[in-house]
């Protein structure tokens, strides 16, 4: 155990975590030239394209330091707030963390929130000032920021560049010298932490774990404490670029496990693996069943594809345990599913994966958070509202509670005013304001989660000219004034366009929704009135004028192929529309509420 080091890299998005991980793999000879590829640990296509780590990953490296051979386990953490629970479990599997700070950007919201997670878990922090090669790097000032944040000595900060490879050897030396080796007792009953799982279509679910005490052996009978299920450890091994089967993984080390589990749901991140016959008495603390934060309907564009959509969602769930869904039906859209997501990014990823991996074109309805409603008749019983149609009739409603979060925003002092007015518009209440340096301010707000869902990130970026970073954590439910805004097309309510909105914003949002829909819904051969209503009261209206002319006058030799292509494009667009009554509604109109300020 003396020669094992378990560490993770924590950083704000884009500060260079993936690039630096690549350099560590190079320097330890963990990849051959042939295997080299940028952002090696980001294995999903989507991760590479979006440049963010969605899943956690782990890799083992060998490193010879001062004549001794070490095993380094690098556990990469997801880079987005939607996945913060997974980040916390990855951190819990380590003794140390590299805290990467971009030498031009300095400390950002995610740097801080991840740092707190690491400190809660007593990790040794190695601060790394990254991207020192950048002409815009500002090492002196950023060093001061880091010193202020950590209370460390400036000499403890390692200067590095993931791009040039500068400083990588110093980082590796620090990992060995400063991060303590794992403690643990091989002779105690097995106690291992699950920090991630990956679905492999051929081998079932691969569980990634860190052994705290005891050891896990091939063909051992093991038990997952939270789910209570037992399995045979068909295969255990360490995670190299390829998997490396072993007969035993001992306390302090990191590895993978294959048991023939077919559904990701059975493997819960944060769960404890123990021996089936001689179980540990101490499950690892901090386990939580991850709860979805955002709910939306997912419907097939073509009603006939419902069963296929179900099959695709089930397959997705096999490898994404945080996706939950139940069947629901909508008068407008027919049969579909109410799905729960960790956040908006997670929702986008699911939608994109459905399209890419399963060729399913879907309509996603307006997302909402999960509310608690209480009726006069039964003022203590929670009615869970995950769908606008679940909201009890206003006359029977005693009260509604909505989820709140604590938001952490770091911005330049120039933008404090803008950020504050945005957060106040979003019903936020400021709870704290700290000047990290004269130019950089940390702001804390208590805010309704629902307001983050509706175009918050984009607006925050705009009002701060990009100089604001943001992170949040849930802080419970609070009483709220909620109404359901319905949309009527051609005087017919379209349930899939309904949205739950705070009463004070309903008028304004109803108006903007009508305007946005007018823009998005193509004109048809008849006038289409659009109305927004709360109950029977119409709060806004617009009309999509009938299409009178839909033909180009000239169609001679040169026009034919140009025009054919134009009409083909139009037809393709129509394939993504849904006929509701006699109105055709494009896919994106169902999400219009999210883009009201564009």
């Amino acid at each position: 155990m003396k020669h094992i080091r378990n560490f993770c890299i924590i950083a704000h998005i884009d500060h260079g975590k993936s690039t630096l991980a690549d350099r560590l793999l190079d320097s330890t000879g963990s990849v051959t030239d042939r295997e080299k590829q940028d952002q090696l640990l980001d294995s999903m296509d989507l991760e590479r394209e979006r440049g963010i780590t969605i899943k956690s990953h782990a890799i083992q490296m060998d490193y010879n330091y001062k004549g001794e051979q070490y095993v380094l386990n690098l556990i990469d953490t997801p880079g987005h707030v939607d996945f913060s629970y997974e980040v916390s479990r990855s951190i819990a599997a380590c003794e140390g963390a590299l805290l990467i700070v971009d030498a031009a950007q300095s400390i950002q919201a995610q740097t801080i929130s991840n740092l707190y997670l690491a400190l809660e878990n007593d990790l040794e922090i190695i601060p790394v000032l990254n991207k020192v090669d950048l002409p815009s790097a500002n090492p002196e000032e950023v060093t001061d920021d880091i010193v202020d944040l950590l209370g460390c000595d400036p000499s403890e900060i390692i200067h590095a560049s993931g791009k040039t490879g500068f400083g990588v050897d110093n980082i590796l030396a620090a990992v060995i010298e400063r991060i303590p080796p794992p403690k643990g007792n091989v002779d105690e009953p097995l106690q291992a932490l699950i920090f991630d799982s990956v679905y492999n279509p051929f081998r079932g679910v691969e569980t990634y774990f860190r052994v705290i005490n005891g050891s896990i052996k091939k063909n051992q009978q093991i038990k997952f404490i939270a789910t209570g299920k037992t399995y045979n450890a068909d295969e255990v091994g360490t995670l190299r670029l390829k998997q490396f089967p072993r007969t035993e993984i001992k306390a302090g080390d990191v590895g993978y496990l294959i048991t023939g589990i077919k559904e990701a749901k059975e493997v819960k991140v944060g769960d404890t693996i123990t021996d089936a016959k001689e179980p540990t008495k101490n499950p690892i603390s901090g386990f939580e069943d991850v709860k979805p934060m955002v709910f939306a309907g997912i419907y097939p564009v073509d009603t006939e594809d419902y069963e296929e959509l179900r099959a695709s969602m089930e397959k997705l769930q096999l490898n994404d345990a945080s996706l939950v869904f139940v069947p629901e039906s909508s008068a407008a859209l027919g049969f579909g599913f109410r799905c729960g997501f960790l956040g908006m990014l997670h929702m986008e990823i699911i939608q994109e994966r459905l399209e890419r991996e399963f060729d399913m074109t879907v309509i996603t309805t307006v997302p909402n958070v999960s509310y608690h409603a209480f009726t006069h008749k039964n003022p203590d019983a929670i009615v869970i509202v995950n769908n606008p149609s679940d909201l009890p009739d206003p006359s029977t409603l005693n009260r509604v509670e909505e989820p709140y979060i604590k938001a952490t925003i770091i911005t330049k002092s120039d933008f404090v005013g803008n950020v504050m007015s945005l957060c106040i518009e979003k019903r936020g209440m400021i709870t704290n304001q700290t000047y990290l340096t004269p130019e950089r301010v940390e702001l804390n707000f208590d805010m309704p989660l629902a307001e983050i869902v509706f175009d918050f990130y984009d607006r925050l970026k705009t009002v701060s000219k990009g100089y604001a970073s943001f992170d949040y954590s849930p802080i419970g439910m609070r009483v709220s004034k909620l109404v359901r805004v319905d949309i009527l097309l051609n005087s017919q309510p379209v349930d899939a366009l309904s949205a739950l909105i705070h009463a004070d914003n309903a008028q304004n949002i109803g108006k903007k929704m009508c305007e946005k829909l007018k823009e998005l819904i193509p004109r048809q051969q008849f006038d289409i009135p659009i109305q927004a209503a709360i109950g029977a009261k119409i709060i806004s209206r617009e009309t999509i004028k009938a299409l009178r002319k839909d033909v180009t006058a000239k169609c001679y030799g040169g026009d034919i192929s140009r025009k054919r292509k134009l009409l083909e494009k139009q037809k393709k667009g129509k394939k993504r529309m849904r006929q509701v009554g006699n109105v055709e509604i494009p896919q994106q109109a169902f999400m219009a509420v999210l883009k009201l300020n564009d």
């Binding site: 006058a553 139009q570 393709k572």
Partner: protein, 375 residues
């Protein structure tokens, strides 16, 4: 049966609405004509097995060519292609070029059809569109042209901002008073990056109005049909025997050879088009390289084109032909997709031929798109 289209990319001045390919600097004209001659010569093999029935000078403004230049081009066609004995040879011409003297000269060439860009008989409309001629010239040239040519087409534009229905009817009547056998008529369309678009954006000119265009379209159809014209294509009306043969070829999927910058060609399977730049065109032809791009049509492309062009014409979309050329799947698709429009009385089936109704005519692109097959 096939046609040759020759593009003459010059105009005296730019009409505000126009997005065609032309240049107002006429100094390259003779160089260009030589290039056209050369292109005609070296593409002759593409048309080895074709009989040329129509020759069409389009533009731009082909009436800017001298009689000698026109003759040279026609002679070149005759020298290298197999031309029928009574070809339709059309010259697009603008009224300001059609002086009495020029009309007489043209009548002595093999050109036997004039397509005259009148657009309107009102000064106000002509100014708004920045046409090079005035209302008087329009009437004058028609008077003379009708003496020397039987086969004349007049272009008229409707939906011009400020053009009342009353004035539109007057325009139609004026054209009819010359007893011409063919009228092409277009709705004024605001194309991207034209002067017209800019003026509308700046508020200098009122935007075009769909309701006005629709009303004027149906006035036109009514008036011309009452006067014995057949509405044989969305924008074209002809007395029996006077349909444009050249243009009909486009809508019936017949092959044509397009000569000159920006001209398009079709050989039944491939569409190709020359570069839209006069100097590049001349330079390339000079090196005996055809500056063109080609696209090969798939069955689906061909079906889509047939539906799109067919619906614009009185020949419609023949269900039999779809079955024969594309197969049952396409027929099934076509019939399925048409049903909704048949119910809405925008399409109808007459003798196994699918056509747009009067009501559907002004919506026919949208309808065609719905009948398309796409991946």
């Amino acid at each position: 049966m096939s046609g040759i289209y020759i593009h003459i990319p010059f105009c005296k001045q730019a009409c505000h609405y126009c997005d065609f390919h032309f240049s107002t600097s006429i100094n390259k004209k003779s160089e260009l004509v030589n290039a056209l001659v050369k292109e005609l010569e070296f593409r002759k093999d593409e048309f080895k097995n074709q009989v040329v029935e129509t020759i069409y000078f389009g533009g731009g403004t082909p009436s800017l060519l001298t009689i000698d230049e026109l003759r040279l081009l026609i002679d070149t066609v005759y020298a290298h292609y197999n031309v029928v004995s009574n070809p339709e040879i059309t010259l697009e011409a603008n009224p300001d070029d059609l002086t009495n003297q020029q009309i007489n000269k043209l009548a002595n060439t093999p050109i036997n059809r004039l397509s005259i860009g009148v657009q309107s008989f009102f000064e106000k409309d002509l100014k708004l569109m920045n046409r090079a001629h005035n209302a008087e010239e329009a009437k004058q040239c028609l008077e003379e042209a009708t003496i020397r040519f039987d086969n004349i087409s007049v272009d008229l534009i409707y939906g011009i901002p400020g053009l009342t229905n009353e004035n539109w009817l007057k325009n139609i009547e004026t054209a009819l008073s010359f007893n011409i056998p063919h009228i092409s008529s277009y709705a004024l369309t605001v194309e991207p990056k034209t002067a017209l678009e800019t003026f509308i954006k700046k508020g200098i000119v009122d935007d075009v109005d769909e309701e006005q265009a629709q009303a004027q379209f149906y006035l036109l159809v009514e008036e011309l049909e009452a006067s014995g014209f057949v509405h044989y294509e969305l924008s074209n009306f002809g007395k029996p025997g006077f349909f444009s043969k050249n243009n009909s070829a486009y809508w019936q999927g017949k092959p044509y050879l397009g000569i000159g910058p920006s001209a398009h060609s079709f050989n039944g399977n491939q569409r190709s088009w020359n570069v839209s730049n006069n100097s590049k065109y001349i330079k390339s032809i000079d090196k005996s390289i055809l500056p063109s791009e080609t696209e090969t049509l798939t069955q689906m492309d061909k079906y889509n084109e047939y539906v799109m062009t067919g619906l614009r014409t009185i020949w419609g979309v023949s269900i039999q032909k779809v079955t024969n050329e594309f197969g049952d799947d396409f027929t099934k698709h076509l019939l399925n997709q048409s049903q909704l429009f048949i119910n809405q009385q925008l399409l109808y089936i007459d003798n196994e031929i699918l056509k747009v109704t009067q009501k559907g005519k002004f919506l026919s692109d949208g309808i065609a798109s719905e009948l398309f097959k796409v991946n």
